[in-house]
């Protein structure tokens, strides 16, 4: 048996951020899957327009609609505004965690967490502001589905941020949890992007288009 030369990798670091980390790829691919879902939902939304004479549809065949067909803007605007603004503390947390600075990381995450919980409350008001239930017609169904799917994303993000905070407070900040915080941040960016898409589709396209 001949001896073989060896490539010793023992001195390589044990963690990596961003696209070098396998977990980043897992996270990103899951976001891709969800993006495809949201895109298909949006396509469905626009596909269904062709089956209605009036868009957004008025209820039934009454000449005067049973309800105001355009969804109200206030709750949704607050929702989008809140999570968009909360991107700032998330950016802050992201930068801080890479330098393993505990306090700003936790504070940033806490602010985002609070914003996320507030957003969930606004989303519940949003459903009210739609004026219709999901079983009214196909338009109602797709609007509810879009909002509900996004609500799930927000809940997931809030849960993730919550776990990260508790863990950091219990065990302290190390590189491994720091990677997790960057994942949560990436997910937050994505969630805001999806929120903007949903916001435009549901609230502005019936007004503008």
């Amino acid at each position: 048996m001949r001896p073989r030369p060896a490539l010793d990798v023992a001195d390589l670091p044990a963690t990596a951020f961003d696209s070098q980390a396998p977990v980043w790829w897992g996270n990103t691919l899951l976001m891709v899957i969800e993006t495809v879902t949201v895109v298909l939902l949006v396509v469905t939304y626009y596909y269904l327009i062709q089956d209605f004479n009036v868009w957004p549809p008025i209820s039934g065949e009454q000449p005067t609609p049973r309800y105001e067909p355009l969804p109200d803007l206030h709750a949704s605007t607050l929702f989008v505004g809140l999570i968009a603004v909360a991107t700032l503390p998330m950016i802050w947390a992201d930068r801080a965690c890479r330098k393993l600075r505990t306090a700003p990381t936790v504070i940033g995450l806490l602010l985002a967490l609070a914003a996320g919980i507030g957003a969930i409350v606004f989303r519940i008001y949003e459903f009210k502001a739609l004026h219709f239930w999901y079983d009214e017609n196909a338009y109602a169904s797709i609007v509810w589905t879009l909002l509900f799917m996004h609500l799930l994303y927000v809940i997931l993000e809030v849960a993730e941020a919550g776990i990260d905070i508790v863990w950091i407070l219990v065990h302290g900040l190390d590189e491994k949890i720091a990677v997790d915080v960057t994942m949560a941040t990436a997910y937050w960016y994505w969630m805001v992007a999806m929120a903007l898409i949903v916001y435009f589709v549901v609230y502005w396209s019936p007004r503008v288009l």
């Binding site: 048996m1 001949r2 001896p3 073989r4 030369p5 060896a6 490539l7 010793d8 990798v9 023992a10 001195d11 390589l12 670091p13 044990a14 963690t15 990596a16 696209s19 070098q20 980390a21 396998p22 977990v23 790829w25 897992g26 691919l29 899951l30 891709v32 899957i33 969800e34 495809v36 879902t37 298909l40 939902l41 469905t44 596909y47 269904l48 089956d51 209605f52 549809p57 999901y134 079983d135 009214e136 017609n137 196909a138 338009y139 109602a140 169904s141 797709i142 509810w144 589905t145 809940i155 997931l156 849960a159 993730e160 776990i163 863990w167 065990h171 190390d174 491994k176 949890i177 997790d180």
Partner: protein, 662 residues
């Protein structure tokens, strides 16, 4: 040696274990093997365990769905038969289609990928071992749901395509379609998880030196497939969930209700946007088998490696743009249909290039006519017919006549059995020695192949003319005066032969597992890394993960190619390399077995099934899932510092040799 291929005796290439190697081996084995007992078996996270489980489970599904198909053939053997009634017949073909497409073809290909990809790229396990475990149980749940449902008479009966409104709440009473929709959801969750595993493993865990242009063609095929899964599967999950919400009590959405602005065509668009790529999700891994087997037995690297890779990528892209050719009979705008004819024809070009490259490889090599290679050769004879009838179906005008007839049944079986099952059996014969350490018996193998070839053609060739004579699909009986009797009888006889052939394969596997010839590490003299370790591979795959300097390391790499050392022995660590050039980047600590994966799978399955029966399932189930997820993702505090100065870092004097082919 009675085996047709003369190979160096396996023992001679086995590594001589130095003391240091032995010590490393023991430590690695302790670290990587699963915990003992039932707990370890349930929570297994090794890609070889789970990959084989996927393959075996999928093969059982194949057998069961095959039996259903045979019952259908018995029913159709003679006109006006009364063996099964329309209700059972509808269940039979629906369960057959659903099982074959969702629960056999995709999982078996993913199982092959999960087993082989980490070996081929030279790493120890897939990137997310716990997700792997979870995805298997979700898949198992979906299999059980479909078949237990079928035996309890809750089997779906609306076709695997489940067109609304037939599958909608008004025309399908009961829970049959609801369960179908949950079967699909579970199957897709599992496939998506598998796809994420494969993409990440290929991108981040390749052996140092395995730059993108050195990835084996099989791994490319799995990578392309995984991306197709990621982009296609959400569509079917979405449309089947929309069907669920349309049907379920207390939800009752209106997605497919034409009276309330819903649209049955929306279902068809979403479904075929998934289901056409699905065909390529099944076929592209098969092209990976073919490329690998042709390379090995032509004894040369594949002609046009880049062309083959680009063809796969092109196929996957075009595959997303052809779905409307399943809807040529629907009232859609002519212009759109013309465009889809063009794109459907265009997909022939990359597939043709692949064919030409394989043929060029064969002409440029020296062919060894072995059993796996013979399966691939029959692929050429069969799949070409399916491809050419596919060209006919791409034509909108011709499709208007043959759409939804037995011509299509013939076409799709020529494409899927010829294009996927024959290569898959070839792959079974090819990699069985790697899985078990023993060769599959050759004599039975040739009989298996001959019977399969005869039985298949006898079953499906007559169906071409049956379709042209006007026999529609999915009919449970036909009239004698229609003139379809003889061909149908022939098809049933053929189905019997086909079944016999599969039985032969099973017998062969059972015999060979116990008393097949010992294979050694590289019985075929192949070039890819999975043959660089013992058969079956140890739990940690490679004592020292390899480094590569060519696309065919076992053939062309210089003997002084280094191996990787310095990875932790006392916890599960793999080397992460850069995405493009595969330069060593960092060490990645992998998760080990955890009960949470099984618990989460159980909670997911229970929730998804009980959604059908009770509206409280979601409000109760979702928080439960979140809870288990939180426990799962609760990061464990390292008990040991990550950099252990005392850990074993000796470079052993000798390491297991990659056997020289010469």
């Amino acid at each position: 040696m009675p085996y047709p291929l003369d190979v160096p005796a396996a023992e001679s290439s086995d590594p001589v274990w130095s003391e240091a190697n032995l010590r490393e081996h023991i430590l690695l084995e302790q670290t990587w093997r699963r915990p003992p007992g039932i707990y370890g078996w349930l929570t297994a996270t090794n890609h070889k365990d789970i990959g084989l489980r996927f393959i075996v489970t999928a093969f059982i599904v194949f057998l069961m769905a095959g039996v259903l198909a045979f019952i259908m053939r018995l029913q159709l053997a003679v006109p006006e038969n009364t063996l099964v009634g329309p209700d059972l017949y509808n269940e039979l073909f629906t369960v057959h289609g659903t099982a074959m497409m969702f629960l056999f073809a995709v999982p078996v290909m993913e199982g092959m990928g999960l087993y082989l990809v980490p070996l081929m790229v030279g790493t120890r396990n897939v990137s997310f071992p716990r997700l792997l475990n979870y995805s298997y149980y979700i898949y198992l749940g979906s299999v059980l749901l479909l078949f237990v449902g079928f035996f309890l008479n809750v089997g779906p009966d609306v076709g695997w395509f489940a067109y609304t409104p037939l599958s909608g709440p008004e025309y399908s009473s009961g829970k049959r379609v609801d369960l179908w929709s949950q079967v699909v959801t579970l199957a897709e969750i599992s496939s998506l998880a598998g796809a994420v595993e494969i993409v990440t493993t290929v991108f981040k865990q390749r052996a140092p030196g395995m730059s993108l242009n050195r990835i084996p063609l099989f791994v490319w095929s799995q990578l392309v497939t995984a991306f197709m899964i990621i982009f296609a599967m959400p569509a079917v999950m979405l449309c089947s969930n929309m069907l669920s919400t349309d049907r379920l009590a207390h939800i009752n959405t209106q997605f497919y209700n034409p009276a309330e602005g819903g649209d049955p065509l929306l279902w068809q668009h979403l479904f075929w946007f998934f289901a056409h790529p699905e065909v390529y999700i099944i076929f592209i891994p098969a092209t990976g088998f073919i490329s690998t087997i042709v390379e090995t037995f032509a004894g040369r690297r594949a002609f046009g490696y880049t062309l083959l890779v680009l063809s796969m990528v092109a196929t996957s892209f075009i595959g997303f743009g052809v779905w409307v050719h399943h809807m040529f009979a629907t009232p859609l705008p002519q212009l759109g249909q013309g465009l889809f004819t063009a794109s459907s024809l265009m997909i022939t070009i990359p597939n043709g290039i692949q064919f030409f490259c394989w043929i060029a490889t064969m002409w440029g090599g020296r062919l060894k006519l072995t059993l796996p290679f013979a399966w691939v050769l029959s692929f050429f004879l069969i799949f070409t017919i399916g491809g050419l009838t596919g060209v006919m179906l791409a034509s909108m005008s011709i499709d208007q006549q043959v759409h939804d007839t037995y011509f299509v049944v013939a076409h799709l079986h020529y494409v899927l059995i010829g294009g996927a099952i024959f290569p898959l059996f070839g792959a079974f014969y090819y990699w069985f020695p790697k899985w078990t350490g023993r060769m599959l018996g050759a004599k039975l193998g040739w009989v298996n192949l001959a019977l399969m070839f005869i039985g298949f053609n006898l079953t499906f060739f007559p169906m071409h003319t049956l379709g042209l004579l006007g026999m529609p699909r999915r009919i449970y009986t036909y009239f004698r005066e229609s003139g379809w009797a003889e061909r149908n009888f022939a098809a049933t006889v053929g189905a019997g032969v086909l079944g016999l052939s599969v039985l032969m394969f099973l017998v062969n596997v059972l015999i060979s597992r116990r008393s097949g010839l010992l294979a050694g590490s590289n019985p075929w003299g192949a070039s890819t890394l999975e043959w660089a370790t013992s058969s079956p591979p140890p739990s940690y795959n490679f004592l020292h993960p390899p480094m590569v300097r060519s696309g065919h390391p076992l053939w062309f790499d210089p003997p002084d190619t280094p191996v990787v050392t310095g990875l932790a022995l006392e916890h599960r660590e793999v080397l992460v390399t850069t995405t493009h050039d595969a330069k060593p980047h960092h060490r990645y600590h992998m998760a080990s077995e955890a009960w949470e994966t099984v618990a989460l799978a159980v909670v997911t399955i229970v929730m998804i099934v009980s959604v059908v029966f009770h509206s409280l399932a979601i409000p109760v189930g979702l928080p439960l899932i979140l809870l288990v997820l939180a426990i799962w993702f609760w990061p464990t505090k390292e008990t040991k510092p990550l950099k252990d100065p005392n850990r074993l870092r000796t470079v052993p004097a000798t390491v297991p040799m990659i056997p020289d082919p010469a």
